[in-house]
Protein backbone atom coordinates (compact mmCIF):
# COMPACT_ATOMS: atom_id res chain seq x y z
CA UNK A 1 0.00 0.00 0.00
CA UNK A 2 2.87 2.36 0.92
CA UNK A 3 6.46 1.57 -0.09
CA UNK A 4 9.55 3.71 0.44
CA UNK A 5 12.66 2.60 -1.40
CA UNK A 6 15.91 4.29 -0.27
CA UNK A 7 14.12 7.60 0.22
CA UNK A 8 16.15 10.66 1.18
CA UNK A 9 14.65 14.09 1.72
CA UNK A 10 16.71 17.18 2.42
CA UNK A 11 14.93 20.50 2.90
CA UNK A 12 16.57 23.45 1.20
CA UNK A 13 16.71 25.36 4.49
CA UNK A 14 18.62 22.69 6.39
CA UNK A 15 21.78 20.76 5.64
CA UNK A 16 20.81 17.64 7.56
CA UNK A 17 18.44 15.23 5.78
CA UNK A 18 14.93 14.98 7.25
CA UNK A 19 14.76 11.43 5.95
CA UNK A 20 17.95 9.51 5.23
CA UNK A 21 17.83 6.45 2.98
CA UNK A 22 14.54 5.12 4.36
CA UNK A 23 13.21 1.80 3.06
CA UNK A 24 9.86 0.74 4.49
CA UNK A 25 6.88 -1.21 3.27
CA UNK A 26 3.41 -0.95 4.76
CA UNK A 27 0.83 -3.52 3.69
CA UNK A 28 -2.84 -2.98 3.03
CA UNK A 29 -4.87 -3.03 6.23
CA UNK A 30 -1.92 -2.52 8.58
CA UNK A 31 -1.93 -0.23 11.60
CA UNK A 32 1.47 1.40 11.96
CA UNK A 33 2.85 3.75 14.61
CA UNK A 34 5.56 6.13 13.48
CA UNK A 35 7.49 7.12 16.59
CA UNK A 36 10.50 9.27 17.31
CA UNK A 37 11.43 12.65 18.70
CA UNK A 38 10.40 15.95 17.16
CA UNK A 39 12.43 16.45 14.02
CA UNK A 40 13.07 12.75 13.55
CA UNK A 41 11.26 12.80 10.18
CA UNK A 42 7.76 11.55 11.07
CA UNK A 43 5.91 14.49 9.51
CA UNK A 44 8.19 14.46 6.48
CA UNK A 45 7.27 10.81 5.98
CA UNK A 46 3.56 11.68 5.95
CA UNK A 47 4.06 14.70 3.68
CA UNK A 48 5.92 12.53 1.18
CA UNK A 49 3.05 10.02 1.11
CA UNK A 50 0.66 12.90 0.28
CA UNK A 51 3.07 14.19 -2.38
CA UNK A 52 3.21 17.53 -0.61
CA UNK A 53 6.98 17.15 -0.89
CA UNK A 54 9.19 15.39 -3.38
CA UNK A 55 12.07 13.17 -2.25
CA UNK A 56 15.61 14.07 -3.31
CA UNK A 57 16.45 10.42 -3.85
CA UNK A 58 14.60 7.15 -3.84
CA UNK A 59 11.17 6.02 -4.93
CA UNK A 60 7.78 6.03 -3.25
CA UNK A 61 4.77 3.95 -4.18
CA UNK A 62 1.34 4.75 -2.75
CA UNK A 63 -1.75 2.70 -3.65
CA UNK A 64 0.12 1.07 -6.52
CA UNK A 65 1.38 4.31 -8.07
CA UNK A 66 4.92 5.56 -8.16
CA UNK A 67 4.64 9.15 -7.00
CA UNK A 68 7.51 10.56 -9.09
CA UNK A 69 5.68 9.44 -12.23
CA UNK A 70 2.35 10.83 -11.09
CA UNK A 71 1.66 14.00 -13.06
CA UNK A 72 0.68 17.13 -11.18
CA UNK A 73 -2.98 17.01 -12.20
CA UNK A 74 -3.35 13.45 -10.88
CA UNK A 75 -2.26 14.40 -7.35
CA UNK A 76 -5.85 15.29 -6.29
CA UNK A 77 -6.98 11.78 -7.30
CA UNK A 78 -4.21 10.34 -5.10
CA UNK A 79 -5.27 12.47 -2.14
CA UNK A 80 -8.88 11.35 -2.49
CA UNK A 81 -7.62 7.90 -1.52
CA UNK A 82 -5.88 9.23 1.58
CA UNK A 83 -7.57 10.70 4.63
CA UNK A 84 -5.52 12.96 6.89
CA UNK A 85 -5.93 13.98 10.53
CA UNK A 86 -3.78 16.55 12.35
CA UNK A 87 -2.96 17.48 15.90
CA UNK A 88 -4.70 20.86 15.49
CA UNK A 89 -7.92 19.37 13.94
CA UNK A 90 -8.03 21.97 11.11
CA UNK A 91 -11.79 22.44 11.15
CA UNK A 92 -13.51 25.41 9.51
CA UNK A 93 -14.70 27.51 12.46
CA UNK A 94 -17.65 29.07 10.62
CA UNK A 95 -19.17 25.77 9.55
CA UNK A 96 -21.20 23.29 11.60
CA UNK A 97 -20.05 19.74 12.24
CA UNK A 98 -22.17 18.47 9.37
CA UNK A 99 -20.95 21.21 7.01
CA UNK A 100 -17.32 20.55 7.91
CA UNK A 101 -17.65 16.91 6.94
CA UNK A 102 -19.78 17.64 3.88
CA UNK A 103 -17.22 20.22 2.70
CA UNK A 104 -14.70 17.44 1.99
CA UNK A 105 -17.19 15.82 -0.39
CA UNK A 106 -18.52 19.03 -1.94
CA UNK A 107 -15.10 20.20 -3.07
CA UNK A 108 -14.42 16.96 -4.90
CA UNK A 109 -17.76 17.25 -6.68
CA UNK A 110 -19.81 14.51 -5.02
CA UNK A 111 -23.53 14.72 -5.78
CA UNK A 112 -25.76 16.28 -3.15
CA UNK A 113 -27.84 13.19 -2.48
CA UNK A 114 -24.69 11.10 -1.84
CA UNK A 115 -23.47 13.72 0.63
CA UNK A 116 -26.83 13.78 2.40
CA UNK A 117 -26.61 10.03 2.78
CA UNK A 118 -22.99 9.40 3.82
CA UNK A 119 -22.38 12.36 6.17
CA UNK A 120 -24.87 11.17 8.86
CA UNK A 121 -23.48 7.65 8.52
CA UNK A 122 -19.91 8.71 9.22
CA UNK A 123 -20.94 11.07 12.03
CA UNK A 124 -22.75 8.14 13.59
CA UNK A 125 -19.62 6.00 13.19
CA UNK A 126 -17.42 8.53 15.03
CA UNK A 127 -20.02 8.95 17.77
CA UNK A 128 -21.22 12.46 17.00
CA UNK A 129 -24.84 11.66 16.20
CA UNK A 130 -27.00 14.44 17.61
CA UNK A 131 -24.25 17.05 17.44
CA UNK A 132 -24.42 17.70 13.69
CA UNK A 133 -25.48 21.32 14.04
CA UNK A 134 -22.90 22.39 16.63
CA UNK A 135 -20.13 24.75 15.71
CA UNK A 136 -16.53 23.56 16.32
CA UNK A 137 -16.05 25.98 19.22
CA UNK A 138 -19.03 24.39 20.99
CA UNK A 139 -17.26 21.02 21.03
CA UNK A 140 -14.59 19.55 23.29
CA UNK A 141 -11.15 18.81 21.86
CA UNK A 142 -11.92 15.12 21.57
CA UNK A 143 -15.17 15.85 19.76
CA UNK A 144 -13.40 18.22 17.39
CA UNK A 145 -10.89 15.51 16.57
CA UNK A 146 -13.78 13.13 15.92
CA UNK A 147 -15.12 15.62 13.38
CA UNK A 148 -11.68 15.72 11.76
CA UNK A 149 -11.57 11.92 11.64
CA UNK A 150 -15.07 11.85 10.17
CA UNK A 151 -13.97 14.32 7.50
CA UNK A 152 -10.87 12.25 6.71
CA UNK A 153 -12.86 9.03 6.50
CA UNK A 154 -16.10 10.18 4.87
CA UNK A 155 -14.78 9.44 1.38
CA UNK A 156 -13.78 5.92 2.51
CA UNK A 157 -10.06 6.31 1.74
CA UNK A 158 -7.72 3.33 1.49
CA UNK A 159 -5.19 5.03 3.74
CA UNK A 160 -5.63 7.18 6.85
CA UNK A 161 -2.67 9.30 7.91
CA UNK A 162 -2.73 10.78 11.42
CA UNK A 163 -0.09 13.26 12.54
CA UNK A 164 -0.10 13.37 16.37
CA UNK A 165 -3.91 13.09 16.49
CA UNK A 166 -3.90 12.85 20.29
CA UNK A 167 -1.25 15.50 20.84
CA UNK A 168 -3.75 18.08 22.10
CA UNK A 169 -5.98 15.69 24.03
CA UNK A 170 -6.00 14.36 27.57
CA UNK A 171 -5.32 10.63 28.09
CA UNK A 172 -8.92 9.53 28.50
CA UNK A 173 -10.06 11.39 25.40
CA UNK A 174 -7.05 10.00 23.54
CA UNK A 175 -8.16 6.46 24.26
CA UNK A 176 -11.52 7.26 22.66
CA UNK A 177 -9.82 8.55 19.51
CA UNK A 178 -7.59 5.47 19.39
CA UNK A 179 -10.64 3.19 19.62
CA UNK A 180 -12.08 5.11 16.71
CA UNK A 181 -8.91 4.74 14.61
CA UNK A 182 -8.82 1.05 15.48
CA UNK A 183 -12.40 0.68 14.31
CA UNK A 184 -11.55 2.40 11.05
CA UNK A 185 -8.55 0.11 10.66
CA UNK A 186 -10.83 -2.91 11.06
CA UNK A 187 -12.82 -1.82 8.00
CA UNK A 188 -9.66 -2.55 5.98
CA UNK A 189 -8.23 0.96 5.95
CA UNK A 190 -4.46 1.21 6.33
CA UNK A 191 -3.67 3.55 9.24
CA UNK A 192 -0.33 5.30 9.71
CA UNK A 193 -0.10 7.34 12.89
CA UNK A 194 2.82 9.53 13.92
CA UNK A 195 2.88 9.97 17.67
CA UNK A 196 4.79 10.86 20.81
CA UNK A 197 2.36 9.15 23.09
CA UNK A 198 4.11 6.15 24.65
CA UNK A 199 1.05 4.98 26.62
CA UNK A 200 -1.00 4.64 23.47
CA UNK A 201 1.72 2.82 21.56
CA UNK A 202 2.36 0.47 24.45
CA UNK A 203 -1.29 -0.32 24.99
CA UNK A 204 -2.16 -0.89 21.31
CA UNK A 205 0.66 -3.33 20.55
CA UNK A 206 0.82 -2.69 16.82
CA UNK A 207 3.67 -2.37 14.35
CA UNK A 208 6.11 0.36 15.39
CA UNK A 209 8.54 2.13 13.07
CA UNK A 210 10.99 4.31 14.96
CA UNK A 211 12.79 7.16 13.26
CA UNK A 212 15.84 8.89 14.64
CA UNK A 213 17.59 11.69 12.77
CA UNK A 214 15.83 10.65 9.59
CA UNK A 215 16.86 6.97 9.76
CA UNK A 216 14.74 3.95 10.60
CA UNK A 217 16.25 2.60 13.80
CA UNK A 218 13.57 0.04 14.58
CA UNK A 219 10.74 -1.70 12.73
CA UNK A 220 8.93 -4.10 15.01
CA UNK A 221 5.56 -5.78 14.73
CA UNK A 222 3.48 -5.66 17.93
CA UNK A 223 6.00 -3.22 19.37
CA UNK A 224 6.17 -0.73 22.23
CA UNK A 225 7.21 2.92 22.30
CA UNK A 226 10.81 2.36 23.38
CA UNK A 227 13.11 -0.29 24.82
CA UNK A 228 14.83 1.62 27.58
CA UNK A 229 12.52 3.68 29.68
Amino acid sequence: MIRFQSVTKVYATSGRPALDDVTVEIEKGEFVFLVGQSGSGKSTFLRLVLKEEKPNRGQIWVAGKELARLSHWKVPALRRQIGTVFQDFRLLPNKTVRENVAFALEVIGKPRHTIAQVVPEVLDLVGLAGKEDRMPDQLSGGEQQRVAVARAFVNRPMILLADEPTGNLDPTTSVGIMRLLDRINRTGTTVVMATHDSHIVDSMRRRVIELEGGKVTRDQSRGVYGYAR
Partner: protein, 273 residues
Protein backbone atom coordinates in the same frame (compact mmCIF):
# COMPACT_ATOMS: atom_id res chain seq x y z
CA UNK B 1 -8.86 45.99 -1.84
CA UNK B 2 -11.07 44.78 -4.66
CA UNK B 3 -12.40 48.32 -5.05
CA UNK B 4 -8.83 49.56 -5.48
CA UNK B 5 -8.33 46.97 -8.22
CA UNK B 6 -11.52 48.03 -9.96
CA UNK B 7 -10.46 51.68 -9.83
CA UNK B 8 -6.97 51.18 -11.21
CA UNK B 9 -8.22 48.90 -13.96
CA UNK B 10 -10.82 51.51 -14.78
CA UNK B 11 -8.26 54.31 -15.03
CA UNK B 12 -5.72 52.21 -16.93
CA UNK B 13 -8.29 51.09 -19.47
CA UNK B 14 -9.70 54.61 -19.83
CA UNK B 15 -6.30 55.95 -20.84
CA UNK B 16 -5.67 52.95 -23.05
CA UNK B 17 -9.01 53.42 -24.79
CA UNK B 18 -8.46 57.18 -25.01
CA UNK B 19 -5.12 56.63 -26.73
CA UNK B 20 -6.82 54.26 -29.12
CA UNK B 21 -9.59 56.73 -29.91
CA UNK B 22 -7.02 59.44 -30.58
CA UNK B 23 -5.17 57.08 -32.85
CA UNK B 24 -8.37 56.51 -34.78
CA UNK B 25 -8.91 60.25 -34.90
CA UNK B 26 -5.44 60.72 -36.39
CA UNK B 27 -6.13 58.01 -38.94
CA UNK B 28 -9.46 59.52 -39.88
CA UNK B 29 -7.86 62.92 -40.44
CA UNK B 30 -4.91 61.47 -42.31
CA UNK B 31 -7.07 59.37 -44.59
CA UNK B 32 -9.14 62.36 -45.51
CA UNK B 33 -6.36 64.82 -46.18
CA UNK B 34 -3.39 62.79 -47.25
CA UNK B 35 -5.59 60.49 -49.29
CA UNK B 36 -6.96 63.28 -51.42
CA UNK B 37 -5.08 66.50 -51.82
CA UNK B 38 -1.96 67.98 -50.49
CA UNK B 39 -2.03 71.21 -52.48
CA UNK B 40 -4.93 73.41 -53.60
CA UNK B 41 -4.31 75.89 -56.41
CA UNK B 42 -7.10 78.47 -56.19
CA UNK B 43 -7.84 80.38 -59.38
CA UNK B 44 -8.79 84.02 -59.70
CA UNK B 45 -12.37 85.03 -60.39
CA UNK B 46 -11.60 86.27 -63.92
CA UNK B 47 -9.44 83.33 -64.96
CA UNK B 48 -9.67 82.52 -68.68
CA UNK B 49 -9.87 79.09 -70.29
CA UNK B 50 -6.37 79.52 -71.77
CA UNK B 51 -4.94 80.25 -68.33
CA UNK B 52 -6.71 77.22 -66.86
CA UNK B 53 -5.29 74.99 -69.55
CA UNK B 54 -1.80 76.40 -69.03
CA UNK B 55 -1.94 75.81 -65.27
CA UNK B 56 -3.31 72.30 -65.72
CA UNK B 57 -0.61 71.50 -68.28
CA UNK B 58 2.10 72.90 -65.99
CA UNK B 59 0.89 70.82 -63.01
CA UNK B 60 0.62 67.66 -65.06
CA UNK B 61 4.12 68.13 -66.43
CA UNK B 62 5.74 68.18 -63.00
CA UNK B 63 7.34 64.86 -62.02
CA UNK B 64 6.37 65.30 -58.34
CA UNK B 65 2.68 65.41 -59.16
CA UNK B 66 0.63 62.25 -58.96
CA UNK B 67 -2.85 63.41 -59.89
CA UNK B 68 -4.65 66.66 -60.61
CA UNK B 69 -8.36 67.16 -59.94
CA UNK B 70 -10.31 70.16 -61.13
CA UNK B 71 -12.92 71.54 -58.75
CA UNK B 72 -15.48 73.92 -60.25
CA UNK B 73 -17.28 76.66 -58.29
CA UNK B 74 -20.35 74.44 -58.11
CA UNK B 75 -18.34 71.52 -56.73
CA UNK B 76 -16.57 73.79 -54.27
CA UNK B 77 -19.96 74.94 -52.97
CA UNK B 78 -21.08 71.33 -52.70
CA UNK B 79 -18.08 70.43 -50.53
CA UNK B 80 -18.53 73.59 -48.50
CA UNK B 81 -22.13 72.65 -47.78
CA UNK B 82 -21.05 69.19 -46.64
CA UNK B 83 -18.28 70.40 -44.41
CA UNK B 84 -20.44 73.00 -42.69
CA UNK B 85 -23.73 71.17 -42.61
CA UNK B 86 -23.69 71.54 -38.85
CA UNK B 87 -23.75 75.31 -39.32
CA UNK B 88 -26.69 75.87 -41.71
CA UNK B 89 -26.63 79.60 -41.04
CA UNK B 90 -23.19 79.90 -42.61
CA UNK B 91 -24.19 77.84 -45.64
CA UNK B 92 -27.32 79.95 -46.18
CA UNK B 93 -25.39 83.20 -46.10
CA UNK B 94 -22.70 82.08 -48.51
CA UNK B 95 -23.16 82.89 -52.15
CA UNK B 96 -22.43 79.80 -54.29
CA UNK B 97 -20.35 81.92 -56.66
CA UNK B 98 -18.15 83.26 -53.86
CA UNK B 99 -16.13 80.09 -53.61
CA UNK B 100 -13.22 79.93 -56.02
CA UNK B 101 -12.57 77.20 -58.52
CA UNK B 102 -9.35 75.27 -57.96
CA UNK B 103 -7.00 72.52 -58.95
CA UNK B 104 -6.53 69.93 -56.22
CA UNK B 105 -3.17 68.28 -56.56
CA UNK B 106 -2.13 64.93 -55.17
CA UNK B 107 1.63 64.58 -54.81
CA UNK B 108 3.75 61.48 -55.10
CA UNK B 109 5.65 62.65 -52.06
CA UNK B 110 3.75 65.10 -49.82
CA UNK B 111 7.01 66.60 -48.60
CA UNK B 112 7.79 68.00 -52.07
CA UNK B 113 4.92 70.46 -51.90
CA UNK B 114 7.24 73.50 -52.03
CA UNK B 115 8.56 72.69 -55.54
CA UNK B 116 5.09 72.27 -56.95
CA UNK B 117 3.75 75.34 -55.21
CA UNK B 118 6.49 77.61 -56.56
CA UNK B 119 6.10 76.25 -60.08
CA UNK B 120 2.54 77.53 -60.40
CA UNK B 121 2.42 80.33 -57.84
CA UNK B 122 3.14 83.19 -60.25
CA UNK B 123 1.26 81.98 -63.28
CA UNK B 124 -1.55 84.19 -64.54
CA UNK B 125 -4.94 83.10 -63.28
CA UNK B 126 -3.54 81.69 -60.00
CA UNK B 127 -4.91 83.47 -56.98
CA UNK B 128 -3.35 81.49 -54.14
CA UNK B 129 -1.57 78.19 -53.52
CA UNK B 130 -2.39 76.50 -50.26
CA UNK B 131 -0.66 73.51 -48.80
CA UNK B 132 -3.24 72.38 -46.26
CA UNK B 133 -1.38 69.25 -45.40
CA UNK B 134 1.48 71.34 -44.10
CA UNK B 135 -0.82 73.31 -41.85
CA UNK B 136 -2.29 70.06 -40.59
CA UNK B 137 1.07 68.75 -39.58
CA UNK B 138 0.88 70.73 -36.38
CA UNK B 139 -2.48 69.24 -35.58
CA UNK B 140 -1.15 65.78 -36.22
CA UNK B 141 1.77 66.48 -33.97
CA UNK B 142 -0.62 67.64 -31.25
CA UNK B 143 -2.82 64.55 -31.61
CA UNK B 144 0.14 62.22 -31.69
CA UNK B 145 1.45 63.90 -28.56
CA UNK B 146 -1.87 63.45 -26.78
CA UNK B 147 -2.04 59.84 -27.88
CA UNK B 148 1.49 59.07 -26.70
CA UNK B 149 0.90 60.84 -23.40
CA UNK B 150 -2.21 58.76 -22.85
CA UNK B 151 -0.29 55.59 -23.69
CA UNK B 152 2.41 56.41 -21.16
CA UNK B 153 -0.16 57.10 -18.44
CA UNK B 154 -2.04 53.95 -19.46
CA UNK B 155 1.07 51.81 -19.13
CA UNK B 156 2.01 53.30 -15.77
CA UNK B 157 -1.47 52.74 -14.33
CA UNK B 158 -1.55 49.30 -15.91
CA UNK B 159 1.59 48.33 -14.03
CA UNK B 160 0.01 49.70 -10.84
CA UNK B 161 -3.17 47.71 -11.43
CA UNK B 162 -1.25 44.50 -12.10
CA UNK B 163 0.62 44.96 -8.81
CA UNK B 164 -2.66 45.64 -7.01
CA UNK B 165 -4.32 42.57 -8.50
CA UNK B 166 -1.27 40.53 -7.50
CA UNK B 167 -1.52 41.81 -3.95
CA UNK B 168 -5.28 41.42 -3.89
CA UNK B 169 -5.18 37.78 -4.97
CA UNK B 170 -2.29 37.01 -2.64
CA UNK B 171 -4.20 38.44 0.32
CA UNK B 172 -7.37 36.59 -0.66
CA UNK B 173 -5.42 33.35 -0.95
CA UNK B 174 -3.82 34.01 2.43
CA UNK B 175 -7.08 34.80 4.20
CA UNK B 176 -8.70 31.66 2.83
CA UNK B 177 -5.69 29.41 3.34
CA UNK B 178 -7.54 27.27 5.87
CA UNK B 179 -10.24 26.39 3.35
CA UNK B 180 -7.86 25.93 0.45
CA UNK B 181 -5.54 23.84 2.62
CA UNK B 182 -8.37 21.46 3.46
CA UNK B 183 -9.50 21.45 -0.16
CA UNK B 184 -6.05 20.37 -1.31
CA UNK B 185 -5.82 17.77 1.40
CA UNK B 186 -9.09 16.07 0.50
CA UNK B 187 -8.19 16.11 -3.19
CA UNK B 188 -10.03 19.05 -4.73
CA UNK B 189 -8.61 19.88 -8.17
CA UNK B 190 -6.50 22.97 -8.84
CA UNK B 191 -9.19 24.38 -11.07
CA UNK B 192 -11.80 23.98 -8.35
CA UNK B 193 -9.57 25.65 -5.76
CA UNK B 194 -8.35 28.50 -7.97
CA UNK B 195 -11.48 29.31 -9.96
CA UNK B 196 -13.18 31.43 -7.25
CA UNK B 197 -10.11 33.66 -6.87
CA UNK B 198 -9.72 34.16 -10.61
CA UNK B 199 -13.45 34.67 -11.08
CA UNK B 200 -13.60 37.31 -8.36
CA UNK B 201 -10.81 39.45 -9.77
CA UNK B 202 -12.05 38.95 -13.34
CA UNK B 203 -15.46 40.29 -12.40
CA UNK B 204 -13.72 43.27 -10.79
CA UNK B 205 -11.80 43.83 -14.03
CA UNK B 206 -15.01 43.57 -16.02
CA UNK B 207 -16.59 46.26 -13.87
CA UNK B 208 -13.51 48.45 -14.42
CA UNK B 209 -13.75 47.77 -18.15
CA UNK B 210 -17.43 48.75 -18.24
CA UNK B 211 -16.71 51.99 -16.39
CA UNK B 212 -13.87 52.72 -18.84
CA UNK B 213 -16.21 51.97 -21.75
CA UNK B 214 -18.71 54.48 -20.42
CA UNK B 215 -15.92 57.06 -20.34
CA UNK B 216 -15.12 56.33 -24.00
CA UNK B 217 -18.52 57.77 -24.90
CA UNK B 218 -17.77 60.78 -22.73
CA UNK B 219 -14.41 61.29 -24.47
CA UNK B 220 -16.07 61.16 -27.88
CA UNK B 221 -18.94 63.42 -26.83
CA UNK B 222 -16.90 66.01 -24.94
CA UNK B 223 -13.32 66.02 -26.22
CA UNK B 224 -14.00 65.17 -29.86
CA UNK B 225 -17.46 66.54 -30.56
CA UNK B 226 -17.22 69.67 -28.44
CA UNK B 227 -13.51 70.31 -27.89
CA UNK B 228 -11.98 69.44 -31.24
CA UNK B 229 -14.95 70.54 -33.31
CA UNK B 230 -15.00 74.00 -31.81
CA UNK B 231 -11.23 74.30 -32.22
CA UNK B 232 -10.88 72.99 -35.75
CA UNK B 233 -14.39 73.10 -37.18
CA UNK B 234 -14.91 71.75 -40.65
CA UNK B 235 -11.30 71.27 -41.66
CA UNK B 236 -11.11 67.87 -39.97
CA UNK B 237 -13.10 64.70 -40.21
CA UNK B 238 -14.03 63.22 -36.87
CA UNK B 239 -14.43 59.71 -35.57
CA UNK B 240 -18.05 58.55 -35.24
CA UNK B 241 -19.82 56.53 -32.57
CA UNK B 242 -18.85 53.39 -34.47
CA UNK B 243 -15.22 53.95 -33.50
CA UNK B 244 -16.26 54.10 -29.83
CA UNK B 245 -18.38 50.95 -30.05
CA UNK B 246 -15.58 49.04 -31.75
CA UNK B 247 -13.07 49.84 -28.98
CA UNK B 248 -15.31 48.57 -26.18
CA UNK B 249 -14.91 44.81 -26.78
CA UNK B 250 -11.13 45.23 -26.82
CA UNK B 251 -11.17 47.23 -23.59
CA UNK B 252 -13.27 44.60 -21.81
CA UNK B 253 -11.12 41.81 -23.21
CA UNK B 254 -7.92 43.58 -22.18
CA UNK B 255 -9.22 44.10 -18.62
CA UNK B 256 -10.38 40.50 -18.23
CA UNK B 257 -7.18 39.06 -19.69
CA UNK B 258 -4.89 41.20 -17.57
CA UNK B 259 -6.78 40.28 -14.40
CA UNK B 260 -7.13 36.58 -15.17
CA UNK B 261 -3.51 36.11 -16.22
CA UNK B 262 -2.18 38.07 -13.24
CA UNK B 263 -4.42 36.17 -10.83
CA UNK B 264 -3.47 32.83 -12.34
CA UNK B 265 0.23 33.66 -12.12
CA UNK B 266 -0.13 34.81 -8.52
CA UNK B 267 -1.96 31.63 -7.52
CA UNK B 268 0.71 29.44 -9.09
CA UNK B 269 3.07 30.96 -6.56
CA UNK B 270 0.88 31.39 -3.50
CA UNK B 271 -1.59 28.52 -3.73
CA UNK B 272 0.73 25.70 -4.62
CA UNK B 273 0.66 22.12 -3.45
Amino acid sequence: MTIASVLTIWIALTFLGGAWLFNKQIDATKDYWFGKIQISVFLTKDVTQTERDAISAQLNSLPQVDQVFYESKAEAYQHFKEQFKSVPQLVKNTDPSALPESYRVKLKDPKKFQIVASAVQNMPGVDQVAAEAQALKKIFRLFTGIRNGMLVVALAVLVASILLIFNNVRLAAFSRRRETGIMRLVGASDVYIQAPFILEITVAALVGGLLASALMFAIKAVIVDVGLKSAFGGILTYIGWGAVWSTIPYLLLAGVLIAAVTAFGTLQRYLRV
